[in-house]
C-alpha cells in the first residue's frame, strides 16, 4: 500500500485542509445558510456513497432511502434510550445487516430489474416497518427530542463526508476498487480472473449502504417526528441518482459536481417560484439531460480531452502512467 507516497499525501493533505476550513462555516454564516450547507453535505455523502457502488458496477440503485430511512428510524427508536454515538453504531449495524441481506439476494439481478427491485424494496421496507409498528409496538410516528443542534449535525455530516472521501480515495487505489472496475467492464471476465464477484459487490454495496444509513441517522434529530412515510420517502433515492448522474458517478469527486449545482438550483427554484417549482424543475431537468449527456464530469473531460491525451502519450513513454 502506497500510504506514504506523495501522490497519496498531497491530495489527502489538501482535502484535510479544505475540510478543516469548512468546519468553521457555522461561525461565518447564519442558520439558514447552515441548513443549506447541511443539505449540500448530506446529499454529497449520499451521492458519493451511491456512486461508490453504482459508478463502477453501473447498477442503478433506488435503495438509497431504504438505508437512509433505516438510519433515521433507528434514531427514532433508540434516540432517547441510548447515548447518540451508540445510536449511530446501532444504526450502522442495522444498515449493514440489511445491506448484506439485500446484497446477497439481489446482486445477481442486472439492469432495469435491479432498478425496479431496489425501488420495490423501499416500499416493502416501509410497509413492513409500518406493519410492525402498528401491530407490535402500536406506536406509529415517533418523537425524537434530542439536544442536537444544527451545527452538530453539520459537523457530523462533514466528518462523515471526509471519512467517505478518504475511503473512496483509498478504495480507488486498492485491489478491491480495481476489482470493482473490472466487474463494471465485464463480470464474466472478472470471475475468470479469480475475483469473487459476489463478495466484492456485496462488500461495496454494504460499505455504500453504511454511509447512507449513517447520513439518515445523523439527519433524523432535525425533524423531531419520524414515521415511515417521512423516513422512507422515495423521492430522496431519485434525487441522489440524479445528482450523481449529473455530476458523473465514475469519479470520486464527480457526484459532488452534481450535488452542489442541483441543491442550489432546487433551492433557488423553491424560493423563487413556489407555485411553479415542478414545472421549472422539470424543464431544467430536461435541459440537463439534453445538453449535458455525460454529466458535469463528462463536460469537463470533453474540453480537457485533447490536452490530456497529448500529456498521456508523453508520460506513457517514460513512466507508464498510473491506474488512478
Amino acid at each position: 500500500m502506497s500510504i506514504l507516497k506523495p501522490d497519496f499525501i498531497k491530495p489527502v493533505g489538501l482535502g484535510a485542509l479544505i475540510f478543516a476550513a469548512l468546519a468553521f462555516l457555522p461561525s461565518l454564516v447564519d442558520s439558514y445558510y447552515m441548513s443549506l450547507a447541511i443539505s449540500v453535505v448530506s446529499f454529497a455523502v449520499l451521492a458519493t456513497a451511491w456512486s461508490m457502488f453504482s459508478g463502477p458496477t453501473r447498477y442503478i440503485s433506488l435503495a438509497t432511502v431504504v438505508f437512509f430511512g433505516i438510519g433515521a428510524y433507528t434514531v427514532a427508536v433508540l434516540g432517547e434510550v441510548l447515548p447518540f454515538p451508540l445510536v449511530l453504531v446501532c444504526a450502522g449495524l442495522a444498515g449493514t445487516m440489511i445491506a448484506l441481506l439485500v446484497g446477497f439476494s439481489t446482486l445477481r439481478l442486472a439492469g432495469v430489474y435491479f432498478v425496479i427491485f431496489t425501488f420495490g424494496l423501499t416500499e416493502l421496507v416501509r410497509q413492513v416497518v409500518s406493519w410492525y409498528e402498528v401491530n407490535v409496538t402500536r406506536e406509529m410516528g415517533r418523537y425524537v427530542f434530542l439536544d442536537i443542534t444544527q451545527n452538530d449535525i453539520y459537523w457530523q455530516l462533514l466528518a462523515l463526508f471526509a471519512v467517505l472521501l478518504l475511503t473512496g480515495f483509498i478504495l480507488g487505489r486498492s485491489r478491491l476498487g480495481f476489482a470493482l472496475r473490472i466487474i463494471g467492464e465485464d463480470e464474466t471476465v472478472a470471475k475468470h480472473c479469480g475475483i469473487d464477484v459476489t463478495r466484492v459487490k456485496v462488500a461495496l454495496f454494504v460499505l455504500s449502504a453504511l454511509f447512507m444509513t449513517l447520513t439518515g441517522a445523523i439527519m433524523a434529530p432535525r425533524w423531531t417526528y419520524i414515521d415511515p412515510v417521512i423516513a422512507f420517502n422515495p423521492m430522496l433515492s431519485f434525487q441522489v441518482v440524479i445528482m450523481a448522474l449529473l455530476g458523473g458517478p465514475r469519479r470520486l469527486l464527480g457526484p459532488l459536481l452534481g450535488v452542489i449545482p442541483l441543491t442550489l438550483l432546487f433551492e433557488v427554484l423553491t424560493a423563487s417560484f413556489p407555485n411553479h417549482f415542478s414545472i421549472l424543475l422539470g424543464c431544467v431537468f430536461m435541459v440537463i439531460v439534453y445538453l449535458l449527456p455525460g454529466g458535469v464530469v463528462g463536460l469537463y473531460e470533453k474540453y480537457r480531452a485533447p490536452k490530456k491525451r497529448v500529456l498521456a502519450t508523453d508520460q506513457n513513454a517514460k513512466t507508464g502512467g498510473s491506474t488512478a
Binding site: F178, R181, E185, V189, H192, C193, I195, N316, G320
Partner: protein, 244 residues
C-alpha cells in the same frame, strides 16, 4: 509424453431445458499436452469449456484437476485452482488499458501481485505477447488480433496449470494464423497444458497431441489428430453422410 493426468472429466452432463447439450462426457487431459476438442457446430464443445471453467453449472458429473474436485465451484474458485480461459467471442476490458487488462489477471490469482510489482509484471507479459507498444492503449481500441493477444495475456497472467482456448484462432487471416499457432506452440514448450476448441484444421494438425471429438453432446472419438480425423464416424458427423 508425460502421462500424469492433470484434468479428468467424467460423466459430465448438462441440459438447457429439454435440450441436452453435453451428455455423459468423459476424457482426461495429461500434463503438458495440447488437447483439441473438436466437433461440428452445436455439438457442445463450448458448453464443455464453460462447465470446466465454471461459467456454467453441470447437472451431473465430475471435473477434477490435480486430484481436486472442482465440479460446480464458482468460476473464481476454479480460476484459483489453476484454470484460465479465453472466450469464443473475444472479451477484453474495453475501457481499461492493456496494462490494466493484464493486471486484472495478476491481482486476484492465488499468489496475487499488486502495485509496482503488478505493473512491472504486466509490462513484461505484454512484451512477451507482443503488445509492449500498446501498453497504455485502451483495450477497446486494439485491433481484433491484438485483443485476442491481450485476452491470452490476461489468461497467462493467472499462471494457470491448464489453459482453455475457445476458438482462439478463429477469425484470423492466414498470416495472423501462423503467428497465433507459433504463440500457442511456445506456450506448450513452456510446459503449459492446453485444451483448445478449434475449427481450423491446420492448427489442430500442427498443434494437438490428442483430440476429443464430440457430436450431439457426446464423445465420439478420442485419439491423435490423424486417428480421429480418419475415423469414419467423425467424418460422418463432421462432413455429412455424402463424404463417408
Amino acid at each position: 509424453m508425460n502421462t500424469e493426468i492433470l484434468l479428468s472429466i467424467s460423466g459430465l452432463h448438462k441440459a438447457f431445458g429439454g435440450l441436452i447439450a453435453v451428455n455423459q462426457m468423459q476424457f482426461d487431459v495429461h500434463q503438458g499436452e495440447i488437447l483439441g476438442l473438436l466437433g461440428p457446430n452445436g455439438s457442445g464443445k463450448t458448453t464443455v469449456m464453460n462447465l470446466i471453467s465454471g461459467a456454467l453449472q453441470a447437472n451431473d458429473g465430475k471435473v477434477v484437476i490435480s486430484g481436486k474436485d472442482i465440479t460446480n465451484l464458482p468460476a473464481h474458485k476454479i480460476s484459483h485452482s489453476g484454470i484460465a480461459r479465453t472466450f469464443q467471442l473475444v472479451r477484453v476490458l474495453p475501457d481499461l488499458d492493456c496494462v490494466e487488462n493484464i493486471e486484472a489477471g495478476l491481482a486476484y490469482r492465488t499468489k496475487p501481485l499488486w502495485g509496482d510489482a503488478a505493473h512491472g509484471a504486466a509490462l513484461e507479459l505484454l512484451d512477451r505477447i507482443g503488445l509492449a507498444k500498446q501498453a497504455h492503449t485502451p483495450a477497446g481500441d486494439l485491433t481484433y488480433i491484438d485483443q485476442k493477444r491481450l485476452e491470452l495475456g490476461r489468461a497467462l497472467a493467472l499462471q494457470p496449470k491448464l489453459l482453455l482456448l475457445d476458438e482462439w484462432l478463429a477469425g484470423l487471416n492466414p498470416s495472423e494464423l501462423q503467428d497465433g499457432i507459433a504463440l500457442v506452440r511456445k506456450l506448450k514448450i513452456e510446459g503449459l497444458t492446453i485444451i483448445m476448441v478449434e475449427h481450423v484444421m491446420d492448427a489442430i494438425r500442427s498443434l494437438c497431441d490428442r483430440c476429443v471429438v464430440m457430436n450431439a453432446g457426446a464423445k465420439i472419438a478420442d485419439g491423435t489428430p490423424d486417428e480421429v480425423l480418419s475415423d469414419p464416424e467423425v467424418v460422418r458427423a463432421y462432413l455429412g453422410d455424402s463424404h463417408a
